[in-house]
């Protein structure tokens, strides 16, 4: 490369008018061992540009996001639950009628059974009510407290005098 040419390019370079190709030519020129002494100043500049370009990003990227992971396992779990449900549901399907209408096929039997149950409930209920009868005692107690009025009468007589 002719020195004259380089000087021209440098001037263009400083005005920001060089093309990328011309800049590459400059970089090549200044990467040589020997450079014209008055252009020595530019050498570290271009050397720095080339060196900086070599730097690399070495940290690794944790791209496996947590989101993807959980979704996949939720899908697996859902399928497993479905399979288990289908497996256990099968025997129930054959006795479906039994579940739907109860265990009594004859309405009379059902009526008898219901009466029996209701009788039992009322029996227990009466038992409960009978225990509440003790509350009568409280009324009796308050009746006897009526005697206290007598004391009141007596004191009123005393104070009147």
């Amino acid at each position: 490369m002719v020195l004259n040419n380089i000087e021209k390019l440098l001037e263009k370079y400083e005005n920001g008018d060089t093309s990328l190709k011309e800049e590459q030519a400059l970089k090549n020129y200044f990467s040589q061992e020997t450079v014209a002494p008055h252009l020595e100043v530019y050498k570290p500049m271009f050397a720095y540009f080339s060196v900086s370009k070599q730097e690399q990003f070495t940290k690794d990227l944790p791209l496996k996001t947590k989101k993807v992971f959980t979704y996949r396992w939720i899908a697996v779990a859902a399928v497993a639950v479905l399979v288990v449900m289908v497996y256990f549901k099968k025997p129930a399907v054959s006795t479906y009628q039994e579940y739907a209408y109860g265990t009594y096929n004859n309405p009379e039997d059902a009526f008898n059974e219901v009466t029996k149950q209701l009788a039992m409930i009322s029996n227990h209920f009466n038992k409960g009510v009978s225990t509440v009868n003790y509350l009568e005692e409280v009324n009796k107690g308050t009746g006897t407290l009526g005697y206290l009025n007598e004391i009141g009468n007596a004191t009123s007589i005393i104070f009147k005098k």
């Binding site: 920001g16 100043v41 500049m45 690399q56």
Partner: protein, 169 residues
């Protein structure tokens, strides 16, 4: 979209995203976090990725905005940490230091540039995007990009010259 498809889209420009983040945030760790964040955001919106006209340009814009947010955040304002990327023990030879020294000077000079110019230099001189792409990424017009670029280049050259001549002239 599967992981592999996503990686195929992202892989070619992930380093560019990282370098842009590092240019703005300086610290390697911060830049790594930012890159991760940007790529994960892309991944979580992967259903929309087909709608983007240019995923790369879109990601670069995203990175720029993310880094600005980071810089503006309370965290960054409460605590001023000077990020140093500590090199490990392998002591380089004196000669290497001397050679590297002026290269580091360039890094320092770029660090002092205004944010806009920093971005433009990064995208043009390091990543070699064309002006239209840069204009789109940074939401500027073409001329503004060229002006910023020209100013940045001139500043770098002037500062380099003055450090070179320091104590000599």
């Amino acid at each position: 979209m599967t992981q592999t498809e996503f990686l195929n889209i992202v892989m070619p420009f992930k380093d560019k995203v990282f370098r842009l983040a590092k240019r703005l945030l300086v610290s390697t760790e911060e830049a790594e976090d930012a890159t991760q964040e940007v790529l994960l955001k892309l991944w979580s919106n992967k259903t929309k990725i087909e709608d983007y006209k240019n995923v790369e340009a879109f990601s670069m814009t995203m990175t720029k905005n993310f880094c600005f947010d980071k810089l503006k955040s309370k965290q960054a304002q409460n605590l001023k940490i000077v990020h140093n990327n500590y090199e490990d023990g392998q002591t380089p030879l004196q000669k290497q230091i001397e050679l590297n020294d002026s290269v580091h000077w360039v890094a320092k000079i770029i660090e002092d540039l205004p944010e806009q110019q920093k971005l433009v230099i990064q995208l043009r001189d390091i990543e070699a995007y064309n002006l239209d792409e840069i204009a789109k990424m940074l939401d500027m017009n073409n001329t503004a990009v060229r002006v910023a670029l020209s100013r940045a280049r001139k500043t770098i050259r002037e500062k380099l010259t003055s450090t070179h001549n320091y104590g000599v002239k």
